[in-house]
Amino acid sequence: MTTPIEDREARKGTQPPYLFPGYVSTQKRAPLKPLILLPENSSSLFSPVFGHDSVRPADGDLTRQHAGEPLGERIVVSGNVVDEDSYPVRGALIELWQANAAGRYRHHLDNHAAPLDPNFTGCGRLVTDDQGAYRFVSVKPGAYPWRNHENAWRPAHIHFSLFGAGILSRLVTQMYFPGDPLFARDPIFNSIPDEGARMRLVSTFDWQTTKPEFALGYRFDIVLRGPKSTPMEAVHP
């Protein structure tokens, strides 16, 4: 059994910092004063339950939300959501959003000169099953440029938002695709100091879930913080 101190040591560098100057937007938005450590169990264990009725059938298949099918490489993404003690997180709402295959978001502020796809919104919603498993169908998002630095491109990614057991389990992250040549220069990906933690955001190609004549399979497993986990790198005022 690990002690809290060992836990903290093991977690070191596995989450990004607030201030990461290479990601320019952090410079004016990252808190600069020390964070305050709340007493254990002080934060809410309440978690909203959205239930299966908050999810429509088409929410789990981003290729079937319009009259026609979107362009792009069809993918099936699946995985398990567990807590830090390896217990499945059941009935958890997952919200997803992504660019289309050309690297364009359906958003009025996305000015990238790539085509919108009339058959793709890029929004998905899922609820994990009794084993904590999830699965959705989509198309592989394209890489896209951003203005963070000279010739900056984001590696292809899908945004994930998850609810677990309470507010400290809340997670928003991005799933990447294996072997992306853009990893090396992406400050958002590289903001995570620990290489292992960084690489766990990269999905793995999976023959088991690849559907013949239909779609490539990718696996992406997610670990949510438990309500009792030890806060890391806490600094008192």
Partner: protein, 153 residues
């Protein structure tokens, strides 16, 4: 052995595509007892942040609201809410910031944090009375002078 939690990444600027369905629809709330907080989220230069989404958590409720093009938000809370835990997500935050807002009538509930937070910063956690009953104003400043108190997350 404990697993290591998956790393956080920013919501980026286009989160409304995925998150808007849970945005609070204030037109569907018509309780006379409901309370409302409005405010502005600003960066270290005092510039409004138009691409922020705030989540207000209590022991029994959840409300998510985005900021407008001028960095303003407005959230409706259940009657008698005294404190909310708040998460803010935005482009430029690689992980959410975690704070609290105390409605000013409920300062007694602040004993816990007032012992932890420097006296001259406690005010950043307190919503001020607004222009009408049950209306409050709470602004969030991400950094520098009057930086809102953020808790370890």
């Amino acid at each position: 052995m404990k697993l290591i939690a998956t790393a956080s990444q920013t919501v980026g600027p286009f989160f409304s595509i995925g998150l808007a369905r849970l945005h609070q629809d204030s037109t569907k709330i018509n309780s006379a007892d409901a309370q409302m907080i409005t405010g502005t989220v600003v960066d270290g230069d005092g510039q409004p942040i138009p691409d922020c989404v705030l989540e207000f958590w209590t022991f029994s409720s959840f409300a998510r609201v985005p900021t407008s093009a001028t960095g303003k938000y407005s959230v409706i809370l259940e009657a008698r809410t005294e404190m909310c835990e708040v998460l803010l997500f935005m482009r430029g935050l690689l992980k959410p910031v975690y704070t609290r807002v105390y409605l000013s009538e409920a300062v007694k509930a602040m004993d816990e944090v007032s012992q932890l937070v420097a006296t001259d910063r406690v005010h950043t956690l307190i919503a001020q009375p607004g222009s009408a009953a049950k209306q409050f104003v709470w602004n969030v400043k991400m950094q520098s002078d009057n930086e809102t108190v953020f808790f370890d997350y």
